[in-house]
Symmetry: C2
Subunit: 243 residues, 2 copies
């Protein structure tokens, strides 16, 4: 069924080669997303606007990878007729790519807001953000490992740990509101910081999405049970759009 | 190539029937997303927590439709070997479904925050939100029409009009910051309102995504040129994660 023959433009690679290429592209994209988040958090904590600016401009690379994944998927689907497991893998790759692309967008937004915050005096409320950032960095790292290793247990572990991020997000939001109430001069900074931690929290959600995709791709079963949520309260953070 | 015969569970429908089913599911899903946004905005402007609560619980319906679309797509791809145009249509449906699912999430989040805001005294800053909401409702309505009618010009028009939403978002955010600075008692409400208009702005972005998908599906060409952006300034709204 595979197209072949001399009238074909390029060497026809095997299905496995194409699948490998798809996975490699996802891996590279995951590495880029991880780096973007790391650098955005570094730019924030070190008030480094040059680094932030690089993060913003590097986002286009992740978008290009996402486009490449889409092209690869369409080609794989058009040229072959993958069944069951392979099809799950291919559709999974498409979803993971979309999540990584969003993670890149959120990292770039953290960097953009960092550039704005750096123009005004720092507020001490920003102190605990790096800790929250580290938690999410670990989620991203571990879920990418789970993807590469096709490890459903590791995926499940990431899925569970996102709750901690949500809780930290809730508590930080409360803190920012308190700072704003104490001194109106904190309002502009704290508004940006609230959107920054919202972005970080959303990155955690996308890590959770990837964990769900990995689990489904590997096991053929969705993760059972309600997603644990650390932000069920009525604090102004109440920001989970994925409920 | 289509599987057939008496040992098949159900009647094997034609490829066109399956495609039609896919499109119908997307249309129904679009209608649901539109209704969810309308009701969330109504709940906000009329301070109607019962309605808001219904919006939150109805979000599951949209999620179910998204799942159904994914299943339909996987079945279409597995059973048939669609080429070029059809494949673009199918992959497009998957993307539109993901966008509609997100729109539903954002509408539900507007409703959730509305329930919280309704427990505290109203702030007059909320005044212009319905206007912004109406702009986005029109984008959603028009992009769904563009999808059903396969109208690339209408899609392009939606894509262009999102800029107006972004501008309104920027100006409203500035207003909320001013209100917070004037009176710390406004801080909690205004924080929720800032996230609410951010959600509405994001819904506009997803309408724009759908416009891009419709354009590409119909014409085979991406929309050329930079996406117009009304929030390029350095105001604290600077919230576009899709840069």
């Amino acid at each position: 069924m595979a197209p072949s023959g001399p009238n074909h433009q390029h060497t026809v690679t095997s299905f496995d080669d194409e699948l490998r290429k798809l996975n490699n592209t996802i891996s590279r994209m995951g590495g880029l997303a991880e780096t973007q988040l790391t650098q955005a958090l570094k730019a924030l904590s070190q008030r480094d606007s040059d680094l932030a600016s690089r993060v913003v401009s590097q986002d286009a690379q992740i978008d290009q990878h996402d486009q490449e994944v889409q092209n690869l998927v369409v080609r794989l689907l058009a040229l072959r007729q993958p069944m069951a497991d392979d099809l799950r893998l291919i559709v999974g790759a498409l979803k993971v790519s979309a999540d990584l692309e969003r993670i890149g967008d959120y990292a770039a937004n953290v960097a953009k807001r960092t550039m704005v915050i750096n123009q005004i005096p720092p507020v001490k409320a920003a102190g605990p953000i790096p800790l929250m950032g580290r938690l999410v960095q670990e989620l991203i790292k571990d879920v990418l490992d789970a993807y590469v290793e096709r490890d459903e247990d590791k995926a499940l572990d990431v899925w569970r740990r996102d709750e901690e991020v949500d809780e930290m997000h809730t508590s930080l939001t409360r803190e920012f509101i308190t700072y704003m109430m104490e001194d109106p001069r904190n309002i502009t900074s704290c508004t940006h910081l609230m959107f920054i931690i919202k972005n970080i929290e959303r990155i955690g959600d996308h890590a959770t999405n990837i964990a769900e995709t990995v689990h489904f791709t590997v096991s053929g079963r969705p993760i059972s049970g309600q997603r644990p949520k650390g932000d069920a309260g009525s604090a102004p953070d109440l920001g989970n759009e994925t409920a």
